[in-house]
C-alpha cells in the first residue's frame, strides 16, 4: 500500500499546481467546412469547442463561427464523414475539409479511457470501424461484426444457434488457463462480455448454447468500435486489458439537427453445411437388424427400402426481423439520443430463438461555460430459447443417478438410423417414440423432434448499463474528466427435461436452473494538462485514478422426478430430490496512472505511460504492482521535408510513419484462489462426504504473484500514389512469464488442479492492413480493405515436469480429445487419444492383432491457423453501393468429434468398410513379433478401437468464405424532399453464401464450448454443435 499512499499524496497537489498556472484568452474563430473529395460546402456540420463543449453548426455556405481560446481543439463532425479535431495554432480562421468515413489521416480515434487522439499521433496499433461497417454485416452479436475487418482479431462462433456465443481473441492467447478475451468498454465504462462455462448442475457450456454477454449491445446504437490490439494500446486499462480492448463508442445527438431514423431487416436463414452419412447399413447390432437399436450397425439396406434424410429433414428455414428506431438532436447547449430496438430471431432448429429488446437514452449538456455533463442509460432484455446441445446432460451424480445422463438433440440426430423416420416422434398414446436401445448401444438419446419441444433451455437476461460523465475545464490548458458507470444484469437460466425423456436418471423429468447476477461498477478520474514549449513542442500529461468493483453471484439448483409430470418446476419435486448451490465472487481493483505525450512539430511523437494497480485478488504483500509503457512515432515524410531532403508532399509516398513501443502489463489472479477451500461435493465415483472435505478441484496458492506480459511492437504506416493506397504493417512479440496457472497437477500432490505461478507463452505475429481507393470519381467509387494477420503462440515453459496444460472444459464427446497447450509447441494444441506405438512409430498391437489405445493422450493437431485474411470491397455507383467481405482462414486443425460420435453410431462414412478383414502393420506388443494375424473390422473395432485413433479425426480447417455481400440503394434526395424525408436507403444482404472448405463436417468455424472456456478455449473443437447458417436479409433505413 505504500506506493499507493505516495501517489495519492502527490497527485492532488500536482493538480493544484497545474491549476494556478492558468492563462486565459478567449477568441472568436471562423472558418468553412467542406467535403474533401470535391470541395463542396458541408451544410449543417457540427463544430464544437472540445474544451468548453460549446457547439454550433455550419450554415448553407458551410461557414461557422465559434468562441475558442487560441490553441483550443475544435471538433468537426458530419454524418457519414470522419470526425476531425484540429487545434488553431495562430490567427482566427480554421478551414477544414472532411472526408468520407475511414479514409482520412485527420481521423480521431478514441483510445483508452476515452482519450481522443489524432490517428497520426498514435504510437501503437489500433483499428477503428465506423457504424456502417458494423451494421452492414447484419450480425446481432457485435463480436461477429468484427469478423474479417480487423487484422489480428480471430473470432469463432460456438454454433449456429440463435444467440450463440462468439469467441474473440486478439493476437492469439497469452494465457494457458486464464481468460484470453479482450476487455469490452462502452463509452469509457468496462462492461461484461463473459459467457458462462457451465449451465448449472449437469450441464456444460456446450449443452446450453450460452451467449457471450456482448450480444446485449445493439449494433445500431454504435457509432464506432476501436480495437486496441496490444498491451501498448490498452495499458491504461491496466490488468483487465492485457488481452487488448474493444472500445465501443455509442451514437450521440448532433447539435442543431433533429433527426429520426428507422431501420429494419427481414432475414431468412438455412443450414449451410452438414456432414455426410453412410447410407449402406441400417439399424442394428453386429450386422443384425434390431428395431430397438440406436445405432446403424445392422445389415445393408434393401433395394426398395426408404433411406430417410433425418438430418436434413430436421432443420427448418429460420426467419428473423429487426426494427430499430432512434431520435437524436440538440440545441447549442444540449444534445440527446434515444433509441428503441427489437430483434427477433428464430433458429434453424425448431423451437429455438433469440430475442432482444433494448432502449437507450443518452444526453450531453453544457451546464456551464466550462462544465459539460452527460449520461446514458441502456436497458436490454435478451431472451434465448435453445435446445440441449453437445453430449447432453452429464451423469447427474449429486442425487446419484449412475450410468445416467445423455440426451443432446444433435447427438440424437447423429445416432438415428436412416431406415427409421425420426419425424414420427409420438406414439399413438402421445408419448415419446424413441429407440429403446440394446446392449452395447450408443448412449441415451431422446428423439430429437421430441427433444426440441420437451427439453428446452431458456435464458432471460435483464441488463442495465448506465454511465455519467463530467468534463470540467477550469483553464484552457486543463481538463478534469470524471466518469462513473455501472453494468449489471440478472440472468435466469432454465433447462427442462420433460417427463418421458430417456436421459438416464431423469425419466420422470428434471430441471436445472441458474440465477446469475453480475455487476461491474467503475469510477475514473482523469486530469489532463497541455503545455506547449515554443511553436515546436507540445506536451500533455494526464494523471488518472480508477476504481473498479465487480460482483457476481449465482445460485443454481437441480431437481428431478416431477410429482405432476406435466409441470416443470423445482417446487414440483420432493425435497430429497433437490440440490442447490451458491457461487460467486467479488473483485476490486484500484489503479493510478499517468499518460505523458509530447510531440515535436507533429513530426515526432513520444508517449510514456505507467500504471499501478492494487488488486483484491492477490496476497496483501503482492497486491500492488507497477508497469510502464514507452512508445514513439515518427512521420518520416514530414521529417524529410523538415530537414530539407524532400520538398513538399511526394505524389508517390505522401505519408509515411514509423512507430515502435515497448510495454509491460500486469495481470492479477482470479478471485478467491489464495487459500484452499472446502466443499461437500460428491464426485460420482466416490461416496457422499456427509460433511466438509478439501476441495480437490482447486488447490489454493497463498503466495501468488501478478503475472506480467512484456510486449514489443513496431509498425509502419504509409500512403502511396497520392493517398490512393494506405498500408499499415505491424510486427509484434509478446512474452507472458510466470503465469498465474490453474493447471492439472499429479494426484499425489493431493489435488487435481492447482493455482500456481509458472509457465511462459510467447506470441509473435504480423498484421497488415491495406486500404485502397483504385477508383474515385463523382459517380463511381471503388475502395477495398485488406486485413492480413498471422500469429503463433508457443508454450515456452511449464512448471514442474508438466508437458501440457489441458482445457478440460473443451473436452469432447467420449473424452477422446480436448484442447491443450503443449510444452515447446502450440498453445492451441489438440490433446487426443492415439493408438499405441513404439519409439519408432510402429503400432503396438494386442495379442489378437488389433491396435490398442494408448493410456496417455498426445498432441495430435494445432488449432491455430497459419493466417487469416479479410478482404472488403466497396463499390459505389451513383446511389448504389455494393459491399462484400471475403474471409479466409488458412490452416488450423479441427478435431472432428462429431465424426467420432458418428463412428460410434455407425453412421460415419469411415465405417463403410465394416466386415472387411485386414492385417494391421505393426508388432504384437507382448511377443515383439511382426503381426501376421488377420482381424475383422467389426462393430467392436470401430466403436472401441478406431475412435481412439485421434489423428484420423483431425482435419485441416482451411476455409474461404464470402462472409457477406450487401447491396444498398439510396433513394435520390430529390424524390424525398416532398415527403420531408431526409434519407431512405434500401438494402439486401447475403451472409455466408459461399463457403469453400475441404473440412468434412459442419462449417469449420466451430468452438463447441462457447466463449466461457478459458485458455485457448474450445476453438476448433467440432463437437455435436448446431450447424452454422447462411442467409439473406432485406431491409431499409429511413431518416426524417
Amino acid at each position: 500500500m505504500n506506493h499507493y499512499f505516495k501517489l495519492g499524496r502527490w497527485m492532488l497537489p500536482a493538480i493544484w499546481i497545474l491549476t494556478i498556472t492558468a492563462a486565459i484568452g478567449q477568441n472568436r474563430i471562423t472558418g468553412k467546412v467542406t467535403d474533401a473529395s470535391n470541395g463542396e460546402p458541408l451544410v449543417g456540420a457540427t463544430v464544437e469547442n472540445v474544451a468548453t463543449g460549446v457547439g454550433t453548426v455550419t450554415d448553407l455556405d458551410g461557414k461557422y463561427s465559434i468562441e475558442a481560446t487560441s490553441g483550443a481543439r475544435i471538433r468537426f463532425s458530419y454524418v457519414g464523414y470522419t470526425t476531425v479535431e484540429q487545434a488553431l495554432v495562430s490567427g482566427s480562421v480554421l478551414d477544414v475539409a472532411l472526408s468520407a468515413e475511414g479514409q482520412d489521416l485527420g481521423e480521431v480515434v478514441v483510445t483508452a479511457l476515452g482519450i481522443r487522439k489524432e490517428k497520426k499521433a498514435l504510437t501503437y496499433a489500433v483499428q477503428t470501424l465506423q457504424s456502417t461497417a458494423i451494421v452492414e454485416s447484419q450480425q446481432p452479436n457485435i463480436v461477429n461484426s468484427l469478423q474479417g475487418k480487423v487484422a489480428g482479431v480471430m473470432i469463432n462462433n460456438s454454433s449456429g444457434a440463435p444467440g450463440a456465443a462468439s469467441v474473440i481473441m486478439i493476437r492469439g492467447g497469452t494465457s494457458l488457463s486464464g481468460n484470453n478475451q479482450p476487455l469490452f468498454v462502452v463509452d469509457g465504462i468496462p462492461i461484461d462480455n463473459s459467457a458462462p462455462v457451465g449451465g448449472g448442475v449437469g450441464l456444460g457450456a456446450q449443452n446450453t448454447n450460452n451467449s457471450n454477454r456482448g450480444i446485449d449491445l445493439n449494433p445500431e446504437d454504435i457509432e464506432s468500435i476501436t480495437v486496441l490490439k496490444g498491451p501498448a494500446a490498452a495499458v491504461l486499462y491496466g490488468l483487465r486489458a492485457s488481452e487488448g480492448a474493444i472500445i465501443v463508442t455509442t451514437k450521440k445527438g448532433q447539435a442543431g439537427s433533429f433527426r429520426i431514423t428507422y431501420s429494419n431487416a427481414f432475414s431468412r436463414d438455412v443450414v449451410n453445411k452438414l456432414p455426410e452419412f453412410q447410407t449402406r447399413f441400417k439399424q442394428g447390432i453386429d450386422g443384425n437388424f434390431n428395431p430397438d437399436a440406436r445405432s446403424s450397425w445392422g445389415p445393408t439396406f434393401g433395394a426398395n427400402e426408404t433411406i430417410y434424410d433425418n438430418l436434413g429433414n430436421f432443420f427448418v428455414p429460420a426467419n428473423t426481423q429487426r426494427h430499430d428506431i432512434a431520435a437524436s438532436g440538440g440545441g447549442e447547449r444540449s444534445t440527446f439520443y434515444l433509441s428503441a430496438s427489437r430483434f427477433d430471431q428464430n433458429g434453424i432448429v425448431p423451437n429455438t430463438s433469440f430475442e432482444r429488446t433494448s432502449f437507450r437514452i443518452s444526453s450531453e449538456s453544457q451546464v456551464a461555460r466550462n462544465l459539460r455533463a452527460g449520461g446514458s442509460v441502456n436497458y436490454v432484455n435478451s431472451r434465448n430459447l435453445s435446445t440441449l446441445g453437445g453430449s447432453g446432460v452429464a451423469e447427474t451424480n449429486i442425487i446419484g443417478a449412475t450410468g445416467g445422463g445423455g440426451g443432446g438433440t444433435i447427438r440424437g440426430l447423429y445416432n438415428w438410423p436412416l431406415n427409421d423416420d425420426a419425424r414420427n416422434y409420438l406414439t399413438a398414446g402421445g408419448k415419446q417414440r424413441t429407440l429403446l436401445g440394446v446392449a452395447n448401444d450408443a448412449a441415451f438419446v431422446d428423439n430429437p423432434y421430441w427433444s426440441v419441444y420437451n427439453n428446452p433451455s431458456t435464458s432471460n437476461v435483464n441488463r442495465v448499463i448506465s454511465t455519467v460523465n463530467l468534463s470540467y475545464d477550469p483553464f484552457p490548458f486543463l481538463n478534469i474528466t470524471y466518469r462513473a458507470g455501472t453494468d449489471f444484469f440478472n440472468e435466469e437460466f432454465t433447462s427442462v427435461r420433460s417427463a418421458g425423456t430417456v436421459i438416464g436418471g431423469e425419466e420422470k423429468g428434471a430441471i436445472t436452473e441458474v440465477d446469475r447476477f453480475n455487476q461491474i461498477t467503475t469510477s475514473t478520474l482523469v486530469v489532463t494538462g497541455n503545455k506547449s514549449f515554443g511553436k515546436s513542442i507540445n506536451t500533455s500529461l494526464a494523471l488518472g485514478h480508477n476504481v473498479e468493483s465487480a460482483r457476481n453471484k449465482s445460485a443454481s439448483w437441480y431437481g428431478r422426478n416431477f410429482i405432476v409430470p406435466t409441470f416443470a418446476s423445482i417446487n414440483n419435486v420432493l425435497q430429497n430430490e433437490r440440490v442447490i448451490s451458491l457461487g460467486g465472487f467479488r473483485r476490486r481493483i484500484v489503479g493510478a496512472f499517468a499518460d505523458f505525450n509530447a510531440d515535436w512539430k507533429s513530426i515526432f511523437f513520444i508517449n510514456i505511460r505507467a500504471r499501478n494497480d492494487w488488486s483484491s485478488t492477490l496476497p496483501v504483500d503482492n497486491r500492488s504492482f507497477f508497469y510502464p509503457s514507452f512508445s514513439g512515432g515518427l512521420i518520416l515524410t514530414d521529417m524529410l521535408n523538415q530537414i530539407g531532403i524532400t520538398k513538399g508532399e511526394s505524389g508517390f509516398i505522401p505519408y509515411a510513419k514509423l512507430r515502435a513501443s515497448w510495454t509491460r502489463v500486469g495481470k492479477d489472479a482470479p478471485p478467491h484462489v489464495l487459500g484452499n477451500t472446502y466443499f461437500n461435493t460428491t464426485n460420482s465415483f466416490t461416496a457422499a462426504p456427509r460433511g466438509f472435505i478439501a476441495n480437490v478441484y482447486a488447490f489454493g496458492a497463498p503466495a501468488l504473484r501478478p503475472e506480467f506480459t512484456n510486449a514489443f511492437e513496431t509498425g509502419i504506416e504509409m500512403r502511396l500514389f497520392k493517398g490512393k493506397i494506405g498500408i499499415d504493417f505491424t510486427y509484434y512479440t509478446m512474452s507472458t512469464d510466470d503465469q498465474i496457472l490453474f493447471t492439472r497437477v499429479p494426484p499425489s500432490s493431493s489435488s487435481f488442479i492447482s493455482y500456481l505461478n509458472g509457465g511462459r507463452i510467447d506470441n509473435e505475429g504480423v498484421e497488415l492492413m491495406v486500404n485502397a481507393t483504385p477508383v474515385k470519381s463523382k459517380n463511381f467509387n471503388w475502395s477495398l480493405d485488406l486485413n492480413f494477420s498471422r500469429n503463433t503462440s508457443t508454450v515456452v515453459d511449464l512448471p514442474g515436469t508438466l508437458d501440457r496444460v489441458e482445457q478440460s472444459d473443451a473436452s469432447v464427446d467420449g473424452f477422446v480429445a480436448q484442447g491443450a497447450g503443449f510444452l515447446g509447441k502450440s498453445l492451441f494444441g489438440i490433446n487426443g487419444d492415439v493408438w499405441k506405438r513404439n519409439a519408432d512409430g510402429v503400432l503396438l498391437l494386442n495379442s489378437q492383432g488389433y491396435p490398442q489405445i494408448s493410456a496417455i493422450k498426445e498432441i495430435i493437431g494445432d488449432r491455430n491457423p497459419d493466417f487469416i485474411i479479410g478482404l472488403t470491397n466497396n463499390f459505389q455507383v451513383k446511389n448504389f453501393n455494393l459491399s462484400f467481405l471475403w474471409d479466409f482462414r488458412i490452416g488450423g486443425d479441427i478435431y472432428n468429434a462429431t465424426e467420432n460420435a458418428l463412428v460410434r453410431s455407425g453412421l460415419s462414412t469411415k465405417t463403410i468398410d465394416r466386415g472387411a478383414t485386414t492385417v494391421f502393420d505393426g508388432i504384437i506388443e507382448t511377443t515383439g513379433e511382426r503381426n501376421t494375424k488377420p482381424v475383422v473390422l467389426n462393430q467392436n473395432y470401430y466403436q472401441l478401437i478406431l475412435r481412439g485413433n485421434g489423428p484420423m479425426f483431425v482435419e485441416d480447417g482451411t476455409w474461404y468464405r464470402l462472409r457477406y455481400i450487401t447491396l444498398s440503394y439510396r433513394i435520390p434526395k430529390s424524390l424525398l424532399e416532398k415527403a420531408k424525408i431526409k434519407g431512405l436507403e434500401l438494402y439486401a444482404t447475403g451472409r455466408n453464401l459461399i463457403l469453400i472448405t475441404n473440412y468434412s463436417g459442419v462449417d469449420p468455424e466451430v468452438s463447441s464450448g462457447g466463449a466461457g472456456v478459458a485458455g485457448t478455449g474450445s476453438m476448433g473443437m467440432d463437437n455435436l454443435g448446431i450447424p452454422a447458417t447462411k442467409g439473406v436479409d432485406f431491409g431499409l433505413r429511413l431518416s426524417f
Partner: protein, 504 residues
C-alpha cells in the same frame, strides 16, 4: 444520493486506510476456508472408506476372485490393467488431505485425539496405496502446510512401511494424550465410534498388527510385535472399524456394492459384478486342507441362491455367464443383496475377526500352535457372530472343522495358513487386504484349494502359473510426474513383486 455515493467512492478510494478495507474482499463468500475439526472427521472417514478403499477394492475384488462380471474377458478379471485405474487419485485427493488436515489442526488447537484419528486414517490410506503400487510418495505428499508440490518424490516401500508404522505409533500416543480440548464426537462426526477413544486406539493397534504382519517374507518379520499389537487391538465384538451406509438417501450414501449404491450395480444387463465366483462358493462349501464338503452357514447370508434352482453357484473369472445373461443368468445368484452388498451394509476397514486371524498367523509362525488355534477359533466365531449365525450353527461348524482335522492341520505351517487364509478371505469380503494375503501366499492352491485357478481369457502378458503382483499407476501421475513414476508398463508393474512380496 448518487452524487454523494460517487463522492464517497472517490474519497474512499483515495484514502489509503480505507483502500485497504476496500480491497479486502478476497474471502470466498460461499465456500469456507476454515472448517472446525469436529466437522472434518466425518469426511475423513467417509472418504477413506467410500473413495479410497472402495476404489482400492473395486477392480481388486476381481483379481481376488470374489466376484465376476457377466461378460467374458472382463479386463479386471483377466488382469488387463491400464493406467486408468483410479484408486491412486481417490486416495491422494479425496481422502488423504482430510486426514492430514486433522493432524495439523488437531495439534495446533490442542485436540490430539483428532490428530490421532487423522494419523490413523492417513496411515491406512498410505498402507492400502503401497500394498497395490509399491513405492509411493509419502514424505513429499500433502502435509497440510505447503502448497501443491508439482513432482512429489517417491519413497521406497520399505521406507513407506516405516512411516506407516510410525504414523500409527504417533496416533496411539496422541490418543493417549490426556490433554484433549475437543472430543471426537463433538459434532456427531465420529460415525464409527461416537467418540470412544479406547476403540480408536484399538483401531490403530489393529492396523499396526496388519501392516507388521505383511512383512512375513522379510527378515524384519517379528511375530511378537504383531502379537503385542493384537493384544492392544480389538478384543471383543462391536469394535470393528466400520459404519453403516444409508438407505433411501442419495446413491452415494448407499453401500457401493449394493444395487442402490453408485458402484455400478444398477445396470440390469451389465452390472460391474454379476455373481460371486465359483472359487468363493467352493471356499464356503469345503473344508481347508482336505477340501471335503462342508457347507458354511454364512453362505446364505453372504450369497444369494440361483433363482433357477436354489443352488449356490459361481462364475469362472474371465468367462462371463456361459451362454449369456439372457439365457443362463438365472443359474447364478446376484452379488447384490447379501450381507456385504445391501444399501446399509458396512464396508469394514478392519475387524475384530481379522485381528484374531492375524494373531493366529503370527502365533503359528512363532511356533505357538495352541495359541494360534485359539486365536483362529475366536476369529472364525467372531465373524459368524457378526453375521448373526445362530450359536448352535457356529458350534456345529466348529465341531465339523475339528472333525475334519483342524487341530492336526495346525501342526504344519501351510496347513494352519490354509485355514487362516481361507477364513480371512471369507471374513474380509471385498477388502483389498485379501489381495495382500493372496500375494503373500503366492496364490498357493495348497493354501486356497484347487478352485483357485488363473482366469479364463487371461491377459497374454502372463504365462501359465504366473500371477499378478502389483498394480499399474494412474496415467495422470505418469503424465505429470513421470520421472518419479518410472517404468509404468503393464509388464513391469503387473508382474514385478512388491518389496514385501520378495523373500529376504
Amino acid at each position: 444520493m448518487k452524487r454523494i455515493s460517487i463522492f464517497i467512492l472517490v474519497v474512499a478510494a483515495l484514502t489509503a486506510s480505507a483502500c485497504q478495507d476496500f480491497l479486502d474482499v478476497n474471502a470466498d463468500p460461499n465456500n469456507p476456508q476454515d472448517i472446525p475439526l469436529e466437522s472434518r472427521l466425518i469426511g475423513a472417514i467417509t472418504m477413506t472408506n467410500g473413495a479410497s478403499m472402495w476404489r482400492a477394492a473395486r477392480e481388486v475384488a476381481a483379481v481376488c476372485q470374489y466376484a465376476a462380471a457377466p461378460t467374458a474377458a472382463n479386463s479386471a478379471e483377466t488382469w488387463r490393467f491400464s493406467a486408468s485405474n483410479f484408486f491412486w487419485q481417490n486416495a491422494y485427493t479425496w481422502a488423504i488431505p482430510n486426514c492430514v488436515d486433522m493432524v495439523v489442526k488437531g495439534k495446533a488447537e490442542g485436540s490430539p485425539h483428532f490428530a490421532g484419528a487423522g494419523r490413523t486414517l492417513e496411515a491406512l490410506n498410505f498402507g492400502m496405496l503401497t500394498d497395490q503400487y509399491g513405492n509411493i510418495p509419502v514424505s513429499e505428499a500433502y502435509d497440510g502446510i505447503t502448497t501443491a508440490r508439482l513432482t512429489p518424490a517417491f519413497d521406497t516401500q520399505e521406507e513407506v512401511y516405516k512411516q506407516v508404522i510410525a504414523k500409527l505409533d504417533e496416533a496411539i500416543a496422541l490418543f493417549n494424550d490426556p490433554n484433549n480440548a475437543k472430543g471426537l464426537n463433538l459434532d456427531n462426526g465420529d460415525i464409527m465410534y461416537k467418540g470412544d477413544i479406547n476403540k480408536w486406539r484399538r483401531f490403530a493397534y489393529a492396523l499396526k498388527a496388519r501392516y507388521l504382519n505383511h512383512l512375513s517374507k522379510k527378515k524384519a518379520y517379528n511375530p511378537q510385535a504383531i502379537i503385542d499389537a493384537c493384544s492392544n487391538a480389538f478384543n471383543a465384538d462391536g469394535m470393528d472399524a466400520e459404519y453403516p451406509y444409508l438407505d433411501n438417501a442419495s446413491a452415494t450414501d448407499a453401500n457401493p456394492w449394493s444395487d442402490k449404491g453408485y458402484g455400478g450395480f444398477t445396470s440390469a444387463t451389465a452390472p460391474r459384478y454379476f455373481s460371486y465366483t465359483q472359487f468363493f462358493v467352493d471356499l464356503l462349501k469345503t473344508t481347508p486342507v482336505t477340501n471335503a464338503p462342508l457347507l458354511d452357514p454364512r453362505i446364505g447370508i453372504i450369497m444369494n441362491k440361483a433363482p433357477l434352482d436354489g443352488e449356490y453357484r459361481g462364475l469362472i473369472p474371465g468367462q462371463g455367464v456361459p451362454g449369456g445373461v439372457a439365457t443362463n443368468g438365472n443359474r447364478y445368484g446376484r452379488v447384490t443383496g447379501g450381507f456385504y452388498s445391501r444399501p446399509t451394509s458396512p464396508f469394514p476397514f478392519i475387524t475384530y475377526s481379522e485381528v484374531k486371524l492375524i494373531e493366529a498367523e503370527a502365533r503359528l509362525r512363532s511356533g505357538d500352535r495352541t495359541g494360534a488355534l485359539a486365536a483362529y477359533q475366536e476369529g472364525v466365531r467372531a465373524n459368524m457372530r457378526r453375521l448373526a449365525v445362530p450359536a448352535a450353527q457356529i458350534n456345529d461348524y466348529w465341531n465339523a472343522l475339528v472333525t475334519a482335522g483342524v487341530q492336526q492341520h495346525f501342526n504344519t505351517l501351510n496347513g494352519g495358513l490354509s485355514h487362516i487364509m481361507r477364513q480371512k478371505f471369507i471374513t474380509q469380503v471385498f477388502n483389498p487386504e485379501t489381495w495382500v494375503d493372496m500375494r503373500r501366499m503366492d496364490y498357493s492352491q495348497e493354501i486356497y484349494g484347487p478352485s483357485l485357478k488363473q482366469p479364463i481369457n487371461l491377459n497374454p502378458l502372463f504365462v501359465p502359473g504366473e500371477w499378478i503382483r502389483g498394480m499399474i499407476m494412474e496415467g495422470n501421475e505418469e503424465v505429470r510426474n513421470g520421472a518419479n513414476v518410472g517404468d509404468n508398463s503393464p509388464t513391469f508393474r503387473l508382474k514385478t513383486p512388491l518389496w514385501w512380496d520378495t523373500k529376504d
